[in-house]
Amino acid sequence: MEHVKITVALIIAVLLQWTLRNVAEPFAYIDFPLIIVVYAALQGSSIRALFYGTFAGIAVDALSGGLLGANGFSKTLIAFVVSELVRRVYVDNLLLRIPVLAGACLLDDLVYYGMHRLLGQEPTGPFVTTIAYTLIGTTIAGTIIFLLFNVIFTENVKRAKREVFTPRRQTRRRNPIRLSDRR
């Protein structure tokens, strides 16, 4: 059930990426699909995260002046790197997830820019400014979205646990001192 929710979140993220820049320019610096891809990878579903990265990336590239597949390439790579990190390091805490997201955002931008340079298509945005703004925007938005997901998904997990493991009846312990007194 959780992967259906993440898939829906990814579709919404792509739609937001397509439309929000037309509403206000600063939204260009928030990479919504990347946040969802990183979240999926952090959940431990590595194969799914790879496919999410590819499809979300290509969807974003379809309406961009950049190369078709550049975002797909960078996001697939990010999904793999984060999945490998999760396999080796315990990052089940929101505070630990924030630097992971920031690092993923930085790497994503560097790979995206590098692939364009490699294929002779220089992006028109200024290098340092775009990376800095995207890093700030995506990290802030990602932290809020991760908090939101924690509330949505964790509540369900807690409820399911409650249903499966019924609470144990509390039995009163005998006081060993009293027992000794009776004697």
């Binding site: 739609l15 990426q17 397509w18 439309t19 929000l20 820049r21 037309n22 509403v23 320019e25 260009a28 610096y29 990479d31 590595s46 194969i47 790879l50 496919f51 990265g53 590819t54 990336g57 290509i58 969807a59 974003v60 590239d61 379809a62 309406l63 961009s64 002046g65 950049g66 190369l67 078709l68 597949g69 550049a70 975002n71 797909g72 390439f73 697939t76 790579l77 999904a79 793999f80 999945s83 396999r87 995206y112 820019y113 692939m115 364009h116 294929l119 002779g120 298509q121 220089e122 992006p123 028109t124 945005g125 200024p126 775009t130 703004y133 995207t134």
Partner: protein
């Protein structure tokens, strides 16, 4: 459904990643092309598919933002109304003047025996989306090849030149703004035919300004002068207003001047544009037989 153990998943993941990376790389290599060459079919498909979702989503989001804007603009409506009434009166006088001028113009033209030259056909379009990547700054318009839009057609607003079409799908087209287009356009400061200040206008990295190069240092250029297209670049027709000179860094007899131009069109806030259905005249035959053209083949 086949259940896999965690170890099996870990083993298979790098291979899937490599496969996906390779397919993305192939897509990129296939899409990478010269700026002026024909576009790839795969991009047309991708854009057409995206349009079915993007158009309703954009109209919904713009509807919501328009609703809130209309509420906030009600406060200033009264004062705006008074200003507009005054403006209408002024315009009525101007219309009367221009009517008499048109009649006079017609009379003089007939006297000189000049034939009426038809201007380019135009097509109004709405901007339905902006570039989804922060690294690029293209716009998407709601007109495509079904409406007659073709690659490299110029886009203008009532203010001036906006850019050119860089990708076309049946229902939408992608527009590269002049402030972000790496390829230069032929321009002149002042009137074409009378001014010697010919040069090439291109983006210079500063978001709002354009830079004009190759203007000889001996030619006088003043701040505030208008800059127009010359039509020599093979994309834009002559006489379109690009902007106004805001800064001139003087050159010498051997060094070209550096001229900075403020675009006339409001590129950051425009919502409606006009596509000029203009196709440049075909290049002369000798152009095709140049050694570089032969090498590319």
């Amino acid at each position: 459904m086949v259940e896999r153990t965690q170890k099996e998943v870990w083993k298979i993941t790098p291979w899937i990643m490599l496969l996906l990376l390779l397919s993305n790389f192939v897509l990129m290599a296939f899409d990478a092309r010269e700026a002026n060459s024909e576009q790839r079919v795969i991009r047309v498909w991708a854009q057409t598919t995206a349009d079915f979702v993007q158009s309703p989503a954009t109209s919904l989001s713009s509807g919501i933002s328009n609703y809130f804007q209309s509420i906030s603009s009600l406060r200033t409506a009264q004062s705006e109304n008074d200003i507009l009434k005054q403006r209408i009166q002024e315009l009525e006088i101007e219309v009367q003047n221009s009517k008499s001028l048109t009649v006079e113009n017609e009379r003089l033209k007939s006297l000189l025996g000049l034939k009426e030259q038809s201007a380019y056909k135009t097509l109004s379009a709405q901007i339905i989306g902006r570039d989804s990547s922060a690294w690029f700054d293209t716009s998407i318009i709601n007109r495509g090849s079904l409406d007659g839009v073709k690659l490299n057609m110029p886009i203008v607003t009532n203010g001036g030149l906006v850019g050119r079409v860089t990708a076309v799908s049946p229902l939408t087209a992608q527009v590269a703004l002049i402030t972000k287009d790496k390829s230069g356009l032929g321009a002149v400061v002042g009137e074409l035919g009378t001014s010697n200040a010919l040069g090439v206008v291109s983006s210079n990295g500063r978001k709002e300004l354009l830079e004009m190069g190759y203007v000889p240092g001996s030619v006088e250029v003043k701040v505030g002068e208008g800059v127009y297209t010359t039509g020599q670049d093979g994309i834009y027709p002559a006489g379109l207003k690009i902007g106004e000179v805001v800064e001139v860094r003087a050159g010498s007899a051997t060094v070209a001047q550096q001229i900075f131009i403020q675009p006339s069109a409001k590129l950051s806030s425009m919502q409606e544009v006009v596509v000029l259905l203009y196709e440049p005249p075909p290049r002369p035959e000798f152009d095709k037989s140049l050694p570089n053209a032969a090498k590319k083949k």
